[in-house]
Symmetry: C2
């Protein structure tokens, strides 16, 4: 379908996943990397036509102009796996007509390499970044380091006067995974930071301290003609400045617009750059909901690995499509929730002979987790902090996602501890432990039954943490009522949700006494991951309708019977909503049915809840048929005798 | 994580997808295949340590005992990509201790190779198959072909007396993709069939004609200790005896239990075989709901390709896990609906120079389809009927799936026609056509807005086919009412579903006058893919509650106002359901709210409906605020004047 050959500068894990996407579309790839058995080369060996002992890849540094030229001669389109490449050389092979296209444009790569220039570019395009200022001269590579360092010292002092301390001192170039950053806690520490950041050999800038509440990332694919498509906004969690986990979709209860705003900012930012391909936009979310762009990577990114299993088209395939000028693929999530955990080297192999085993512990643990996929990059040996692989988990809800992550994160913590203490791992976290467990768990002989097959559907995890915990951290259903006096009526809803393992929360929200709380609750519900709200109310009974007016979720209303009018007042107040805003009303005082209706709403999109509801209905039928038997055996007066 | 090396007999597309799964887990694979650049070898070149010009794979036939031995010497575990291998030789290398494990067991492979023995095995284990009988001697390889052919002729006549004609005459061995089968339409055609099937050189058997309504397949993964896990049942559609499309989940409105029963039969069947790995079980679904096993493949299967994008763990990874004794991965669908279309060669390259372009037309079309992933196998050249690749499409509903498939299937039909006529393809179906379209569609300059970003979510397809078609083929919502006299009240529900692009059906179901129809409707609703039922009723108003009693889906009840009691009778009849069976009741005569509630129920699990509902609510607010303005500008009597 596609005869053009793509060249990539770099053949690490990003290149490996790119090669995987290219193989699926049968697109030929040639790689430039110093490692003869670099991760990407392992799954893409192309024997040279002239000498089959040689591959068609180029062994060498992607900083070497001669090697870049060699690669360019073999391919139609050049792209990069890492932005720390010689952009001038890429421009040179393009200008010389050695290669037809380079994506992203060399000018874009150069702009992004210089983080100070990147920030100036963003601000010139009206995009939000933290306040920043050049420290010392505006040169990225000062000619006289001693003089530059002196100038920089004055620069930090000046920045401190504007921004206060702490402030971030940053190297303009060669900065990634936290390298090139220094937190200057007070004016006196400036010299330390300058020394750490090249002591005048590199240009620096200072950034106002941004006390973010979350780190957010958005992958964006851009066609060569400027079409941009954002993937969903995700939350990234860093540890020691390296990406640890990525969670999608982003949840932020305080402000339902954050995810959408992040995507808009990211698309707007990527639209300003030239050339095609995927870009990773990292942002800070501030307490007040403000979003600031931290930095942009002009390539597939660690925060987009999840797209392989969880999005319509992966970031790697979309990068390929973009640089080839093919139509872009869908960027929507195809699953309700997903999380990625990096597998980082936990120790150096020369210091700890079990370094690899310890590093792989979370991967071993994930083999028993439904919805988990392990990616190992085929890196040789093990070094502390090195990216060795990652795990992606998909789930049908946030609650299920977190429950599935739990054993993986637990294995990781155990392994980190073992690496720190030099102790050995528990057997269950070793590959042979996993094999033995697999064999033990399945050694019971086969019995085919509806029950067994039903259970072979992934079990729904988790259950409510404690017997009737009112606040699951990732609820699917919210039960609210105007007053604790309604609790006896509303409790059966909670008990039924509990019985069906539905994560829920239960709290008091009063329409008349806490209108602000009601508004906040209703408006944040969908963005917090809730899928249904059960609201109980008596008398004038405004709560269900007023909540329904401020959320897109289905709201189930329970009319609570008061001391007068037998609950008919509540019923009519809840059910007789005006056209436009529905409330799903159940019988007076019948919160059991409200709970069951919420479960049916979940069952509409999750066959496991549907199967559980079917079993519940079958049990009811059986119970009544039992009474039929009893009546025929013991006579009509058994009820009276009981 | 895993140091054992896996050997595979065969390196075609199944091997290629297996290698992809192995690479992700960094498991080393060695392949045996006659093709030096067979599909799997292309993405798994392992240079030989002794001579880098050679690969560690084995070039040769997987029927060659010497080559099997060579491969066995290189690996720890042997498996197969195709069952037409020399099972005795596999047993020999196992017995000689050259390799530690072979999966599935050679005895299983041998059993499955002989389809008559396979059927006898299944029937001995109480599994359902079509009636069959040996034709002629029970030998799989008769010694005297002339005598055997004569005996077979008598055998067919005898089978005809038992089963009637037409009947299926089948070769016991070397049968796949329809090869080895012959339909004997009448007794006189028996000799033709015997000639077509080896004329006495192969053993034959006859099978009673099975006039199935659907073909069904279930992939099952089996651990070496006998744990079995079925994937969902799927519908397979064959064309010219070759798999054309696979659709999951299976839908069969007449009998909601079919999918579950198919899985149970498949698990039970696979449990009877020895050794680990993935098995494909093909079944016939008969008019009366009976399921008959047609045949079983002891390996990953064309009908399981969809698992790569649509299941928690792909069949390829699960095959790998099974043969290595690792814990099995989840087999549940992670998306609501999926379809796979095979890309088969449409012409021979030596007869039609555009054979490849025509064959690739559906792949080109799929580049513009959200949720579509193309797999090309890297086969050289093009031959009619050859499996060149496949396309998997995922979607959030059956309706969306079929809408997404539409352009792909249309491209396929266009290309088939072009191949048959020797005409050329329309430009839009050529790769450069796709590129030009991509560039044209995105040449409008970028504008960031909530609107645009919202639309960059995959658009919800399809709309209701005609303006108010009452019978969408893949509805998500069913609107029912007891009589056409309720239609004026219920129509706004349909209009609102239409406005939100929700596929629905509308029909008459009366609790009192068509109780059987009501039962059939309610019980089949979930298995037909419906997610919500809206039921309108007046007076005694039993329909919503009686439907709710026979489905697990959420049922929305609309009380219809009769000539007496102002609709309060209907309201109370619908809302006051006993504990256990909820009906989501809306206001009297307010089917608008029933439609909107159904959309909210869909929105709970699909953010696109949620976004549309939010926009609808924003529009309502704006409309009222417009009236506020008008009131303040034109005075309080503008309503009266209007």
């Amino acid at each position: 379908m596609e005869s053009r050959v793509v060249g990539v500068l770099g053949a690490g894990q990003l290149g490996r996943m790119f090669v995987e996407a290219a193989s699926r579309l049968n697109v030929q790839v040639r790689l430039l990397d110093a490692g003869q058995s670099a991760p990407a080369k392992q799954i893409c060996f192309v024997p040279s036509a002239s000498n089959p002992a040689q591959s068609e890849h180029v062994d060498g540094s992607f900083a070497d102009p001669e090697k870049i030229k060699q690669l360019a001669e073999k391919v139609d389109v050049l792209t990069i796996e890492i932005e720390h490449v010689d952009a001038r050389q890429l421009q040179a092979v393009l200008d010389a007509g050695i290669v037809k296209e380079v994506h992203p444009l060399p000018a874009t790569i150069a702009l992004i390499q210089d983080k100070y220039a990147q920030k100036k570019h963003l601000i010139a395009h009206g995009l939000p970044v933290a306040d920043f200022v050049s420290v010392g001269s505006e040169s990225a590579l000062p000619k006289d380091p001693a003089a530059a360092a002196k100038e920089q010292l004055e620069g930090v002092a000046a920045a401190g006067r504007s921004f206060g301390f702490p402030l971030m001192l940053k190297s303009r170039t060669q900065a990634y995974d936290g390298k090139g950053n220094f937190v200057v806690k007070e004016g006196g520490k400036a010299i330390e930071g300058i020394e750490a950041l090249g002591n005048g050999t590199r240009g620096l800038y200072a950034e106002k301290w941004a006390p973010f509440v979350k780190e957010v990332a958005v992958m964006v694919v851009r066609s060569s003609t400027g079409e941009v498509r954002a993937y969903p906004a995700v939350e990234t969690v860093h540890r020691d400045n390296i990406c640890h986990t990525v969670i999608a979709p982003l949840r932020y209860g305080k402000d339902a617009t954050v995810g959408q705003r992040a995507r808009e900012i990211a698309e707007k930012a990527v639209a300003t750059f030239g050339g095609a391909g995927v870009f990773g936009v990292e942002l800070f979310l501030m307490e007040d909901g403000e979003l600031l762009i931290n930095e942009i990577a002009p390539r597939p990114h660690n925060s987009g690995h999840y797209t392989i299993e969880a999005a319509e088209t992966s970031q790697y395939e979309n990068h390929l499509r973009a640089i080839l000028g093919l139509p872009l693929g869908g960027t929507a999530l195809k699953v309700p929730a997903t999380c990625m955990v990096n597998i980082l080297g936990l120790a150096d192999l020369d210091k700890d002979k079990d370094a690899i085993l310890k590093t792989m512990a979370p991967a071993v643990a994930s083999l028993t987790v439904p919805g988990a996929t392990v990616h190992l990059y085929g890196k040789v040996g093990c070094r502390k902090g090195r990216k060795m692989g990652h795990i992606t988990v998909v789930a049908q809800s946030d609650a299920e996602l977190h429950a599935r992550m739990e054993p993986i994160l637990h294995a990781l913590e155990t392994a980190i501890e073992a690496a720190q203490n030099g102790s050995s791992l528990p057997k269950a976290l070793l590959p042979e432990g996993a094999r033995e467990a697999a064999q033990a768990s399945s050694s019971s002989s086969f019995s085919s039954s509806a029950q067994q097959t039903l259970d072979s559907l992934s079990p729904i995890t988790p259950t409510q943490p404690s017997s009737l915990d009112f606040k699951h951290p990732h609820p699917l259903v919210g039960i609210i009522m105007g007053s604790d006096s309604d609790l006896p009526v509303m409790l059966p809803a909670a008990q039924h949700l509990k019985r069906f393992n539905v994560p829920f929360e239960l709290t008091i929200v009063s329409a008349h006494r806490t209108p602000d709380r009601m508004k906040a609750y209703a408006r944040s519900a969908a963005s917090r991951g809730l899928r249904c709200i059960i609201a109980g109310a008596g008398g004038a009974a405004h709560l269900p309708g007023m909540v329904a007016a401020q959320t897109v979720l289905p709201v189930v209303g329970v009319p609570v019977k008061g001391s007068t009018l037998d609950g008919v007042d509540s019923l009519h107040s809840i059910v007789q909503m005006p056209r436009g805003i529905p409330v799903a009303t159940v019988a007076i005082n019948n919160s059991t049915n409200a709970g069951l209706l919420a479960i049916r709403i979940l069952a509409a999109a999750d066959e496991r809840y549907a199967a559980m509801m079917q079993r519940y209905m079958d049990d009811m039928e059986e119970e009544v048929l039992g009474k039929v038997d009893r009546l025929s055996q013991q006579g009509w007066d058994y009820v009276v005798k009981k």
